[in-house]
Symmetry: C2
Subunit: 549 residues, 2 copies
Amino acid sequence: MRSTMMDAPLQVSRILDHGATVHGTAEVVTWTGAEPSRMTYAEVGRAAARLAHGLRAECGVTGDERVATFMWNNNEHLVAYFAVPSMGAVLHTLNLRLFPDQVAYIANHAEDRVVLVDTTLIPLLARAIGAMTTVRHVVVVGGGDPAPLVEAAGDRITVHRWDDLLAGRPDTYDWPEVDERDAAALCYTSGTTGNPKGVAYSHRSIYLHTLQVCMPEGFGLRPTDRELAIVPMFHAMSWGLPFAAFLSGASLIMPDRFLQAEPIAAMIAAERPTLAGAVPTIWTDLLAYLDTHEVDISSLQEVIVGGSACPPALMHAFAERYDVQVVHAWGMTEMSPLGSVSRPPRGASGEEAWRYRYTQGRIPAGVQARIVGPAGKELPADGTSVGELEVRGPWVTARYVGDDAPDEEKFRDGWLRTGDVGTLSSDGFITLTDRAKDVIKSGGEWISSVELENALMAHPTVLEACVVGVPDERWDERPLATVVLREGASVTAEELRDFLAASVARWQLPERWAFVEAVPKTSVGKFDKKVVRSRYAEGELTVRVLSAP
Amino acid sequence: MRSTMMDAPLQVSRILDHGATVHGTAEVVTWTGAEPSRMTYAEVGRAAARLAHGLRAECGVTGDERVATFMWNNNEHLVAYFAVPSMGAVLHTLNLRLFPDQVAYIANHAEDRVVLVDTTLIPLLARAIGAMTTVRHVVVVGGGDPAPLVEAAGDRITVHRWDDLLAGRPDTYDWPEVDERDAAALCYTSGTTGNPKGVAYSHRSIYLHTLQVCMPEGFGLRPTDRELAIVPMFHAMSWGLPFAAFLSGASLIMPDRFLQAEPIAAMIAAERPTLAGAVPTIWTDLLAYLDTHEVDISSLQEVIVGGSACPPALMHAFAERYDVQVVHAWGMTEMSPLGSVSRPPRGASGEEAWRYRYTQGRIPAGVQARIVGPAGKELPADGTSVGELEVRGPWVTARYVGDDAPDEEKFRDGWLRTGDVGTLSSDGFITLTDRAKDVIKSGGEWISSVELENALMAHPTVLEACVVGVPDERWDERPLATVVLREGASVTAEELRDFLAASVARWQLPERWAFVEAVPKTSVGKFDKKVVRSRYAEGELTVRVLSAP
């Protein structure tokens, strides 16, 4: 039996129109180093219409062409976020942090036709644009000299000024009705191995994800909120905050390129956000700054931390010293990105509540999750069975852009393999411990490298411990523990193994031990386990092998 | 460009599974007069699976057959709410308050095959079931004697016991994937004129509506909430609260048939709801009870009032005497039903905030609204232009069940005509004044009967005033004011007209006046304007016609 309901598509232009009318007096504020730049949501709505007219008239954007942004978090980026999908084109947020050749690869793969660029980013774009083969138009936001772009790309591109492109255009646009499953926005993951892979969000997935972001158990956005959106708009759509702000009526505070602790502190003091979202390192830096400077951050009630796990000490410091609740969120570019938010369940308080806050959080109804063990079999959601986390739902990608079929290494039977290993509790809390590639596959069972590291680092002599899986004839893989001792400390491998035995199952205890000067790190400061494994393989480590205790 | 997102349908079984697992320890509590009956959401999930197996095995329910409920708000009704749509069948909530012949008409129109009935409602159903031509199975919840049903319907029906139907069935069910635009539930409006009309909610509309109900600017449901759901499950799906509870993890408290102030007060004291939803009369009665009895209602933070406009005095009384915020919500069966919620906007406080609370509230992104004037032209959303409110969106019906095309009196160009007259502000607040049928169409302009009534009732001599439109040769319609004076008071029509002139535009002032003993009322206590108009037409009123002042 068919329903009698209206067939109203879920589309980005509805979020724009709602925000620009019903919440027309809400504002977006961009930090500039001098006087902040402000627009009301009504003004953003009018600017979005003018941008869409300009893109159509001057850049020939029609149909589902890709319009890229190479921009910081600022007012104009917000206008583009709404204008491009609303007109039926596809927004592609280019990641400023990638190498120029990666940026060019991504722009070519997506077949970007237009790039919007902040004037401060012209030099950076100039290093990539020569290799961008499909781009025909560049729109410069601000007054900087575009000569480096023309020098790099020649007459293949036409350069426009944002202000000129919008000048004199109508401030309304008859946004087309779209198929809600059509692409609205593109984001590429910065895969550490191989080429970056693209995800195409649909109007439907963005709309549904936006509702979830606004929910009380999501970020809980209201018109009285002011959200400091530090997480870049080129990282997984800034966690959906721009869309969520327009749907909920919460105002937005944008840092542009001012991402150091000092300007962030100044923004908080001046613009009085109630909520903020960023990766942990931003909060670590801010905490250190706050502890040595007098800053009024009393407006701030909650900060959402995502991107990587938040150190518990940071959560406690903000709660105890500044009365700010740090809330863990977990997700992936492939998940729009929101997968879970760590709000303690009903009845949990004190230490128990804190334990929930340390987890990756609880899945909403829009995300289904399961744990799959080494043999490819689904394991119980009992909070203890360890396996790879797999997810599915209406805002989870089914494949990567350009792939005809799902990549078997990343998808299984309609589920996304997250590449993360951990547990799922019966009440929907996810706890992640390792990346799947770092877990040690020993005799058909998995050993968590992170658990061994944490246990080792609790020993008073140990400064750092990095555990990797190394090949083993009998068990397939076994753990190798590499240990950096504290200055002047001394301990034997046997002593450390015996120490571990108090908290780790006997079969998980490492036989192979190496004392090293330092653990090699990646550019973002994580242990570089690939390097450790290769040093072991090349025989560059002095390894002691203990016999069974 | 197609998106890469998963094609995951929005369906009721996802809400059920989420609630029954992630929020499996939340509970539904039903008042029984004795010990309350409790089920966890995990138990509801298992019972829903058993009910679905039982309906399939014993009642032959397959495909999209209609399964009706004739039940109070209780645990078993909640189980049916999830089991029937999740198995792919269609839930049809029959309204206990209708006349038996209307109930039978509705059941026949919907082609109901099964009716689930509370044991306490057997006598009431027995008066209707004889005329229900498509019903083949009745499932009795509770131990009452089903003989009256069999007597009325003969061997056309088979009677089952709920407990027997569920006994020994598997407590999981492989819920089918559905087309999200297929019907999940049916509800008929109790049209005061003509036959009731049916609305078929889809899985999609229920899912989207549920998200909106849970939003901070909706009812703001969290796992820590306990929601007292007084609004009947046979009235517009109990405002979506059962689904919202499972999506959000809020617990539910159900009154069954105990809807008087005393048991409601006892439920609040014993079960400590944080939120509650009901029509205004329930709150009026409760307030009177609370003012004369010692009851602890301190758990209650907010009550949602809908169904009809809430008297401001009631809002103030709950806020000032009991620290309970009364929140106005407006909607229609045709809207799933949520159309707007009256939370004051950012920056409003004191008297201004109260004025917002008196409105019907603010539309969410999922509802578009417009005001259409007498000539069928859209009027500005400026908070002053008066016209009929029209709405559209993914949880608004496009037509009635059985109609091939939208009824032109109720729909216009893809919009639902609400039949309500009022204004829409630029920031999305709806203020309704009249039913469209009661508004006075005078010379191409509209005069609000309710505004005239309120202005008249502010006069110290006036107890009640009812204003209706009556035919006029020159102006098409003109207002007739019928006035009931307070005991012993005396005033002339001229004096009242002069009093009105201070607050009402001159062209709106009534010429026709009648002093009457009483205003005729409908069964729910509203002015019966149809009767007033017909008395005027029949010459039964003594009318004075004033000449222009």
